[in-house]
Amino acid sequence: MRALILAEHAEGTVSKAGLEAAGLALALAGTRGDCAFALLGKGAHEAARELAVTYGVPAVAVLGKGLFPPTSWAWARAVWDVFGHAPPEFFAAPQTTLMSEILPMLAARAGGFYASGVEDWHAGQDGPVFLRAAYSGKYAMETAPRVRPVFLTVLPGAFAPLAPVEGAEARVTEARAELPPSPVEHAGWSRPLESGLSLALADSLVAGGRGLGGPEGVDLLRQAAALFPRSAVAGSRGACDAGWLPASSQVGVTGATVSPKLYMACGISGAFQHVAGMRGAGFVVAVNLDPKAPVFLHADVGIVEDLKVFLPLLLKAAGENP
């Protein structure tokens, strides 16, 4: 086995982001037989069987006490307990909160190489070279391992998911991890009071970021949103953290994932955490004073202006077009 795929699973199913990580793992390993899925915790057996049957990739169900609810402490230990004696060359996982803890923990333990948020890769002279965002998205960074194993988290949406293969059932095995008592206890989940449901249902979103400059900018967003059908106002982490918009209107990794027909990003720099939440939008307009803002890399139309100047002009232009 050359590449191990770690993925969270729910009711026997692995997320799309997990299958995208598997897509990269397959590209690195070469063949499906050289890859394996590792599934941990409740439902690991069901998920392992499902994956082996659907994708023709061997799957290992890792069982043990304390693996559900998942904690990075227990999962990292369990993975190393089972695979650490003969580690594969590559470990790949989706860039989720849990996996963004586990993969670097494993890399430190193994003395391995870690790259997070991998968006692309190519074969270099001395092995694979990975591409990821840096400096608030203003640069892409090429990073390459000098050592093995290589631990990767994969940016959701960056790679094609692993495709199913018919009639290529692969082996399912079971492994047991022996874990010492955990110093981490999961004490519950909660959702913010308002969910991002209204954002998910909107056909048009007008979103603001730090460039709003204050709560008064929000009023402009509302007026602009009124130009578009089934619209709502959304925000970036910066605008929500500043308290100009409620946390429930946050779009991005730790907020809502949206795919409206129109997404208008105003005064948003476009860090990948935000882009991850809106890359599925139909048509994207970006308004930002900084022509180098990474948001323009994810926009169909770009306007280099201060939103406080531009939005009133847009409202005026709309008024002239009855």
Binding site: K138, V184, S190, G255, F296, V301
Partner: protein, 254 residues
């Protein structure tokens, strides 16, 4: 409680950036550098703990070249009690090397709580916290937006995907990655600034460490869509944009 906060100096990313040919890293073209935002939030959380219990001691820790001393002066001016500079020749960029250097400095006297930013603005990897925790063999949680310390445990609320939150209880010692949030990091006070100016900063020389990666190379970022920039006077751009949106049927019919 003995609290260590890892703080990092980064180029000011609001200004124009260029690539420094010597280090291969990005630099603010005007030489402006500042405390990483995530670091500032981590320090703020430590200061809030200290506001509640004056018995805590906060030590700010940075790993970097001598030119990164200002980030420690800033931390002292914000209210950290002490500062330690782990001196390297260049700005560090290899995650494993950085975590090993920090771990060796912390192992001498294991603190009760280590706070880091969840993800720095420059390398954007979020690797230091979890690697440090693994090397110190202590629990870790990232994306932390609330924390309460009591006795030998810390209760944290952290953000996970899709706006959900998870509550975790971690036994101390522990490492936490602090997420930026509604609480804004405080500004330096005059008293602290005066003290910060005079205070001695402890230094530890860090030998060149073996890296797990080859030196990274910066490139133009990947383009997701082919953007078309509108040109002309602002009024013209506004009219053009409205016409484009109208043409695509994205505007309210009236």
């Amino acid at each position: 409680m003995n609290i260590r906060v890892c703080v990092k100096q980064v180029p000011d990313m609001e200004g124009a950036l260029g690539i420094n040919p010597e280090t291969g890293l990005a630099a603010n073209l005007a030489g402006q550098e500042r405390m990483d935002r995530a670091s500032a939030h981590a320090l703020e959380e430590a200061l809030i703990l200290k506001d509640q219990d004056r018995g805590h001691t906060i030590t700010a820790l940075t790993l970097g070249p001598p030119s990164h001393e200002p980030v420690l002066r800033r931390a002292l001016a914000m209210g950290a009690d002490r500062a330690v500079h782990l001196l390297t020749e260049d700005a560090p960029r290899d995650h494993l090397a950085m975590a090993r250097a920090l771990a060796s400095a912390l192992q001498a006297q294991t603190p009760d709580l280590v706070l880091c930013g969840a993800m720095s603005e420059d390398l954007m990897a979020g690797a230091t916290g979890p690697m440090l925790a693994a090397l110190l063999d202590v629990p870790f949680a990232s994306g932390v937006v609330e924390l309460r310390a009591s006795g030998d445990t810390v209760e944290v609320v952290r953000e996970v995907e899709g706006g959900a939150r998870e509550t975790l209880l971690l036994q101390l010692p522990a490492v936490l990655g602090i997420q930026s949030q509604a609480r804004q990091p405080r500004y330096p006070t005059l008293t602290h600034m005066l003290r910060a100016g005079r205070q001695t900063i402890g230094t530890v020389s860090i030998p060149a460490l073996e890296t797990a990666g080859l030196p990274p190379r910066l490139k133009e970022p990947l383009q997701g869509r082919a953007v078309r920039f509108l040109t002309g006077a602002p009024e013209e751009k506004a009219r053009d944009l409205f016409a484009i949106l109208q043409g695509k049927g994205l505007v309210c019919a009236r």
